[in-house]
Structure formats: C-alpha cells, structure tokens
C-alpha cells in the first residue's frame, strides 16, 4: 500500500463531485435535466451555460412561448441562453443544499394565425385575417432556487462523508422564485420576461441502483412540481391570470463509462388554463415530452451535455421539440489544491 497514493486517490474522489454537478434549469419550457438534484460536496461551485432551441407549433390548443404567454394557433421558434451559478452547501450543518441563480436570455419569433386566434390575443392594430409575426429578444426573468435534501443524503462536508456516501432513496424539496425584471413590453404579444411573479415548488426524488461509483451508477428520478403564477396586469392592456401548472419530470439515467452517461427523459405538464380579464380562454395544457440526454465528462471539472426531446403524449395538436446543449464547469477549493500537489495543469 502506498499511503501517499491512497491519500491522493481519496482526494481525487472529490473530482467525482464534479460528475454529480449538474444544474437544474428552472424554466417553464424545459425540464430541469437528468441528475439535476444530485449533491456535490459542500463548498462546490458550479457554473453552467446552456443553449436551448425550441420549436413549438400549436393548432387550436394552448401552449406558451418562452415568456409563458398563451399563444394558441401559433408557431414559435426561440433561441435561448440560460446561464446559471450554483453553490453547494449544508443548511444548518445538516441538510445538503444547493442555491442556484439562473438568468435567461435570447430571442423568440412567433407567427400567429389571426383567423382563428381569440381576439384577446390580437395586439392593437392587428386585424383578424392578416398575417402576423412578432419577435422579441432580451433578458428573461432571473430566478433563484433553493434545493434542500429532506431524506437520503447525509451532509457532504468532508471527504469522509463523500467516501461513505451511498444513496438509495433521496427526497428533496426545492423552491424557485422568478423576479419580474426581464424584458417586457406591454404592447407586445411576445416577450422574454413575464411581468409577474411566479415560482415553483418541487419534490425531487430519486432512487440509486448499484454501486455509487462513476461508471456504475444508475438512477430513476422523479420530480413532481407545481408552478404558481402571479397576475400579469398589463397583458396587451388586459389582466392575465393562469392556473397552476402541474409538472412531472422523470429520468432513467445510466453510466456507460466512467465519464459518459445517458438519460431517458420524460416531462409531462398539465394545467395552466388562462383567464384574461376574468374570462377563461382556451383549454388547459396537456403535453408530455420524451427525450434523450447524453452527458460527457470532459475533464475533472468540465462536463458537456446534449439533449433532445419532443412531445409524444398529451394534446395531439401541440407539437414541440427542444434541443439543448449545456456546458458545466465545477470546482472546489480542495480539488484545485489537489491538482497543485499532483502537478497537474489547470
């Protein structure tokens, strides 16, 4: 036994923490992502940059664009960028937790069939029957999310905590709040910001199979959640209200190698019925997407991820697909110091 090597090996396990590092992406249009609620070591920092391409087509049903407007009979294309920062810490020295800040930005283009759209959705000066397109770009509403483990994950403060960590069932509680400071023009149908408070409460759950080592991990994850929306009192001069949006997100993830895993993704959403000036418009949302995500650990710190999903269940009249590519970079003070001792380049 070479004790020095063993010590290095143990410290190197902290790099494993980077594998766990992922970021939930609280945006209504997409799921949080596979392994979004796995916990890294206390003190780990993670930043993420994500590009999302959304293509949504609705005939006579309701759906929402990136700014969460109800846009029946429309076609939306959006190019969005989501930047995130997360910090892993231990709440009250007992609960492994993550606080994450997300900032959305980008552009969206919407085409609406004015022949069939409800009049409430016609911007001023747009006559029924005319073709109508609108674009928007800018920052969305920033969000902050706190995720706290309730069950199944002990504090991951020390290396020995990580070494002993072999989760089976875990249950978290996560609360997210969006601040309505994003781009918003009340005269526009399409915006990136929402002009209202909204948030989400989630209960991320997961079950781990097999040894908890890179290259062997398998998980089933389920995150039921509900989005609650405040009132937008200036939607084309009208008052927009939405029912809660119920959401269930599920993943089956599996390591193919020590640095490569895949995930089968499911996102189902229902609810979100709209009222404009107190009058119910359209139907409630009912859509489920199935997708696939591939995650590749490039270095100890750096992860690349790409995924695609498309609706396959729910309302037949709503087509949507989401492609995303994500870059995640995580670091921890000891991990960086370990590299110094090992003489590795950063």
């Amino acid at each position: 036994m070479n004790p020095r090597q063993t010590f290095m090996d143990v410290l190197a396990r902290m790099t494993l923490a980077a594998i766990f590092v992922s970021l939930s992406s609280p945006a209504v249009a997409v799921d949080d992502g596979a392994r979004a609620y796995w916990k890294a070591r206390d003190g780990a920092h993670v930043v993420s940059a994500q590009y999302l391409f959304l293509d949504m087509q609705a005939s006579d049903s309701e759906m929402f664009d990136p700014s969460h407007f109800i846009l029946p009979n429309s076609e939306t294309e959006a190019n969005l960028f989501l930047g995130s920062y997360a910090y892993h810490f231990t709440l009250f020295d007992r609960r492994p937790s993550v606080i994450a800040f997300n900032l959305l930005g980008g552009s969206a283009d919407v085409d609406i069939d004015t022949n069939v759209v409800q009049s409430q959705f016609l911007p001023p000066g747009v006559a029924r029957g005319a073709s109508f397109s609108q674009s928007a770009s800018g920052w969305g509403d920033p969000t902050v999310q706190l995720d706290v483990n309730l069950f199944g994950t002990p504090p991951l403060i020390s290396t020995v905590d990580l070494v002993n960590y072999e989760p089976t069932w875990t249950v978290d509680a996560a609360i997210m709040l969006a601040l309505p400071v994003g781009e918003y023009d009340s005269d526009r149908l399409v915006n990136i910001g929402q002009n209202r408070l909204y948030g989400r409460f989630a209960l991320p759950m997961k079950f781990h199979f097999g040894p908890f080592d890179a290259g062997h991990m398998t998980s089933i994850e389920l995150t039921p959640s509900v989005w609650i929306f405040g009132e937008n009192d200036d939607f084309l001069g009208q008052r927009l209200e939405n029912d809660p949006l119920w959401q269930a997100e599920a993943h089956v993830t599996h390591d193919f190698t020590r640095s490569f895993y895949g995930s089968l993704d499911l996102l189902y959403r229902r609810g979100f019925e709209s009222e404009i000036n107190g009058v119910s418009v359209g139907d409630e949302l009912d859509v489920g997407n199935v997708g696939l995500t591939l995650n590749f650990q490039v270095t100890d710190n750096f992860v690349m991820r790409a995924g695609y999903s498309s609706n396959v269940i729910g309302d037949d009249n709503l087509d949507n697909s989401v492609f995303r590519i994500q870059f995640v970079y995580g670091w921890h003070r000891l991990m960086e110091n370990l590299k110094k001792l090992r003489g590795q380049k950063h």
Binding site: D42, S158, E166, H216
Partner: protein
C-alpha cells in the same frame, strides 16, 4: 529311507507347515486386526465421520475464538465444544499446505516443493517439484475410500489439472472442485492466472461448463457437500468430507446483501484493531500476556497518521474480508445443523484450519505487474475495477493488503508467502469423538498440517502402507494426535522433535521454543536468525549472537531437513526482489517526541486547524 520314516517326516513337515501357516495366518490376522480395527472413537459399532474444513488465507486471529472481532458464532461454539490449538503450523502458501494435508508428508516429497506457478528453472522436472500432488504419495481420501469410507470434496483443489491429478482421481468419489488457486467467487469464473483465464471446475471428475447464475463460492461449496453427504448416507458408511472454501482468499467478493455487514467497523484503523485483538487474545489465553508482538511493517503508516477518509477506504477492504469470514462461518453452521438433523454430528470429527497465513501480498500486481504482458491484458479485461463502492461485487478486485494482513496475523511477523510465523501459523479447532477437554486451549502441542493424515487414519482404523496399488509411496511424516486428543499427552512431539519449512528459498526450523529462519530482505537478513518463540512469537529479537550453539544445532537440523526431503534451492524466487516492490519506509515514529501529542487531538479539531475552516477534511 523307509516308508515309515517318510511318513514320519511328512507328518513332521505337515505339522511344521501347519504350524507355520497357522502362525502366518494368525500373524497376518493380528496385523490385519491392528490395521482395520478402529479405535473406540466413534459411536458404538460405527467408525467416525470426518469433516475437514479448510479456510483459504484466513488469518490466525480472525475468529472470535482466537481473539478476532469478526462475528464467527458457529466456529466459536465449535471451539467451546472442542479444543483450540495455538501452535499449529501450515505452509506459507496454499497448494503447498494442501499437498501435505492430503498426503501426510513433506511438500518437497509430495510434489509441491514449490508452487506450480512459481517453480524455479532448476527445480523443473525434479522429483518433488511436479507442481501437483504426485504419485509418490497417496492421498488420505484414497486410503479412506479403499477402507469403506465415502469420500467427498467440495471447494479448492489446487493440486493438479490433468484427469489423473484431479480430486476424482485422488480418492474422492464425489467432488465439486475448482482446480486452481484463486479467482472470482461468482459465476464469471475469471482466474487470476492469465494462462487459464477461466477457473476450471469439476464435478465428480467431469468438467463443469457453466456455473449457476447465482453462484457464490462459499454457498455453493456448502450446498454440494451437503448434497454429497445426503445422497451417500443411505448405506450407513462413514464419510470423509473435505470442505475447502476459497474464502476469504482474494478477490474479496460478497453477495450484495452482505457487502455492508461491517460498514465502518474498521474506520478506527489497523493499529487500533490490532491492539484490541491482541488484548482479547491475551484475555482468552491464546497468547501470553506481555508477548512481544511483531512491529508494524516498516513501510506501513500508523493508521492514526491517515485521514479519516483514507481509513474509511482502507477499512472497506477489511469490511469485505470480515464479511467473507462471517459468511463462511454462517455456511459452516448449515453443515453442522444438517449433521445434527441426520444424527451424525456427534459421530463426526470436525477439524477446522486455514491453509496459510493471511494474504498481505498484492496478488493482482504480481499477475498484472508487467504492462504489455498477457497478465496485464487479463487484468485489464477482467479485474481492473477497484472503485470504492464497487468493491466486493462481481467484476471487481480487492485484497486487503499488508496492514490488515498483519492484523489478521497478530502477534506474528509478516504474512502469507513467508516462512515467518505470520505465514505459517493457523488456527486449529477440533471437535468430535475422541476429543477431550472441551473448551480448552492447548498451548503446549506443536502441530503440523502433515499430522492430520495419520490422525484421521488412526481414528478410522486405516493403515498407511509403504505401497499403494503396486507403487511405492512415501511414508507419513506427520504424527498422530490421537493420544493427545484423548488427553493422554499434551503434544505428539517431544522437545527433540522438529519441524522444517522451505518455500521460495526462504527456510525455517522449529524445535521446541526455538526457531531459526532465513528470509529474503527486506523482511529478513538473508542469513539465519534465531528466535525464542515463547517470549517472542513476533520474531523481533534475533538471538543468534547470544545463543550461537543453539543456532548451530538448528542449522544442522535444516541440513538434515533439506537432505531428507530433497529440497532444491531455486535459482530464482518471487521474493528475491521483494524490497523493490514495496513502498519506501515511513518516517513517522509512533510516539516520538512524546510531548507532541497529535494523536490526542480529536480528528475534527485537527482537520479544522489544518484547513482553517470546515470542508477541509
């Protein structure tokens, strides 16, 4: 010559001849009676059964009844109902021990002068170096089977691969055997030797092509021995059952539900556990108080110098080892329960031993050490995985290393492979008919694995002849324990009797309290050293200068041993370059200077001081 004279002479011849024939018949009858008449050991009108249980690489102090913290209630109870022995010797490695265990004679005669895998060029083809149990000896199974015993084997053979060398050909009427030295405990069957990538198994002498999907060595070996006894018991013949587990030989493997049985039990580190064991051994009387235990090997850090995380990772391996030992104990319990159920437990002589000292060598490195070799390729393909949480599962490789091996062999020096006490002492528990002194610990007898054959044969009333099926066979060198077990003597050996060992060119002689050994560096001096084992079982104080005459006497016995057994010193040995393969010496002293007192600081505090804040541990 007249007719009357002729008749008279004929009558005289006839009388003489009759008398001679009668004498011969009576003499033969007497001899036969002596040979076949069993001792009054078994139940009335029944010869005893024998259950010979061999653990693989089990350490001296692992069992609870020998001071270990591992939960071994079945064997502990066996020790309470039987007798434990403190000075029972085996060979430093497994096949070598097994050759003596089954033949009753020295390994250099029985064909395992060296391990087959490590035979030196100048030993190849020489008598006694066949690498298999050779035909110069007969196995105890053959003799018992020829004399009315059912003979069963389940487990590890490691004494030959060819059809005339396998258990079925060496006296076992039923067998389920793995023929090689070590490998996976699961159905994937990979062998540590690349030359035979898959472990060959036989059942009743025929190759086993596939193992059950849920195969786990210890469980399935137990299943088989129970099956054999059950299927053979209808005819009322006694049995000799050789249950030879491959546990806890590496790779450390366990069924999933046993993986975390000892979770965090060994986080204290090897020093603390070793100290606790030694204390218990003294308390129960396995070793004397105040004995000189061997120092921690020079390249091993004290466990208190390791961070908690490192100790957890190192402790995980010991957890798996302990799990394997307890699992084996549990399975042995199945056998005992079965024997009780069929009413044969009280008529069964049960002998439990290990085959050598605990394993402290890095077997995987020995196999896969040469990058680019087939051994390396084999390891890459089959047993490269050693991630912390995966260890113990199918497809992984773990051994517990020299520090834990030293714990298993406390208070002795070094471990498997070496002819030090740490390589050659084994626990020995015997229970059954003919065994007196239940619960006792015999510390006076100096015993050897070769003794088991003459003991078993005497108990069974079977004679070991100088020929077997027309071929001349070597005589038994071991000494029967029957009188000792009956309480008539304390030991089958006098103070003049001696024992000898040679393996990988390391060599040793024990006579009474004295022992000389010649070991390669760095563990030895490559010269003879003299130890008094009564005061110094850890072989720490070389008394060569103080007792030169005693040393000379024992060296002379070594010469006798070598000549008597045809020992050939190999032109190469796996331990010749041992030092190069080991880490540099650790520089920390356990307690110097004493006022530093770092050990007294709670770890949490120490780590916080180092890191300046939490998160640095």
């Amino acid at each position: 010559m007249g007719l009357s004279m002729k008749l008279s002479r004929m009558r005289s011849f006839a009388k003489t001849g009759f008398a001679m024939i009668l004498t011969l018949v009576l003499a033969l009858g007497a001899i036969q009676a002596k040979a076949d008449k069993p001792l009054q050991i078994g139940q009335k009108n029944k010869r005893p059964n024998f259950l010979l249980i061999v653990a693989d690489d089990l350490g001296y102090s692992d069992l609870g009844s020998y001071g270990g913290e591992i939960n071994t209630p079945v064997l502990d109870k066996l020790a309470q109902e039987g007798v434990r022995f403190t000075d029972f010797y085996v060979s430093p490695t497994c096949s070598v021990t097994r050759s003596m265990l089954l033949s009753g004679t020295d390994n250099h005669i029985a064909g395992l002068g060296n391990m087959a895998e490590l035979t030196a060029p100048n030993q190849i083809g020489k008598p006694g170096y066949e690498g298999v149990l050779n035909k110069r000896v007969t196995s105890v199974a053959s003799l018992l089977h020829d004399n009315g015993y059912h003979t069963y084997m389940s487990g590890k053979w490691h004494l030959g691969l060819k059809p005339d060398q396998i258990p079925h050909a060496r006296g076992f009427e039923r067998d389920f055997s793995t023929l090689v030295g070590g490998g996976s405990h699961f159905d994937d069957r990979w062998n540590v030797e690349w030359q035979i990538p898959k472990m060959p198994y036989t059942e009743d002498g025929k190759p086993v092509d596939e193992l059950p999907k849920d195969f786990y060595s210890t469980k399935n070996y137990t299943d088989k021995i129970l099956q054999f006894i059950e299927e053979g018991r209808g005819d009322g013949k006694p049995f000799f059952a050789y249950l030879t587990y491959t546990a806890p030989h590496g790779p450390l493997h366990l069924p999933d539900d046993w993986l975390r049985r000892y979770k965090n039990r060994y986080d204290e580190g090897w020093d603390a556990i070793r100290k606790q064991r030694l204390s218990r051994m003294q308390k129960i009387g396995i070793v004397d108080k105040g004995v000189n235990a061997a120092d921690r090997l020079y390249f091993l850090p004290r466990s208190t110098a390791l961070t908690p995380a490192v100790r957890v990772m190192q402790g995980r391996k010991m957890e798996l080892y302990a799990g394997m030992v307890e699992y084996m104990d549990d399975q042995i319990g199945r056998v005992f329960n079965y024997l009780k159920r069929i009413g044969e437990f009280e008529n069964t002589v049960i002998i439990f031993i290990s085959d050598n000292g605990a394993e402290g060598n890095d077997l995987r490195a020995m196999v896969a050490g040469q990058v680019g070799s087939f051994g390396f390729l084999h390891a890459m393909n089959n047993f490269a995985e050693d991630a912390h949480n995966s260890l113990g599962r199918k497809g992984t490789y773990a051994e517990y290393g020299p520090a834990w091996a030293q714990v298993s062999m406390v208070p002795f020096r070094i471990f498997k492979g070496w002819v030090s006490e740490g390589g050659t002492r084994s626990p020995l528990i015997i229970r059954g008919p003919g065994v007196q002194g239940a619960g006792g610990i015999n510390k006076k007898a100096i015993l050897h694995v070769m003794d088991i054959v003459p003991t078993v044969l005497e108990m069974a009333g079977v004679h070991h002849s100088s020929t077997y099926r027309g071929r001349k066979v070597a005589s038994v060198q071991g000494k029967s324990w029957v009188e000792m077990l009956a309480g008539s003597t304390h030991s089958p050996r006098t103070s003049k009797d001696w024992l000898g060992w040679e393996l990988f060119n390391n060599r040793a002689i024990r006579q009474g309290d004295w022992k000389i050994s010649w070991l390669y560096r760095p563990f030895g001096t490559e010269d003879w050293q003299l130890f008094n084992l009564t005061n110094d079982p850890g072989e720490q104080n070389d008394l060569s200068d103080r007792y030169p005459e005693k040393k000379r006497e024992l060296v002379a016995l070594w010469d006798e041993y070598m000549k008597k057994n045809g020992v050939i010193i190999g032109v190469r040995s796996p331990f010749q370059g041992a030092r190069k393969g080991l880490p540099d010496p650790v520089q920390q002293s356990d307690s110097y200077p004493p006022f530093r007192g770092l050990e007294a600081l709670p770890y949490k505090k120490l780590i916080e001081m180092m890191s300046g804040k939490k998160g640095g541990k």
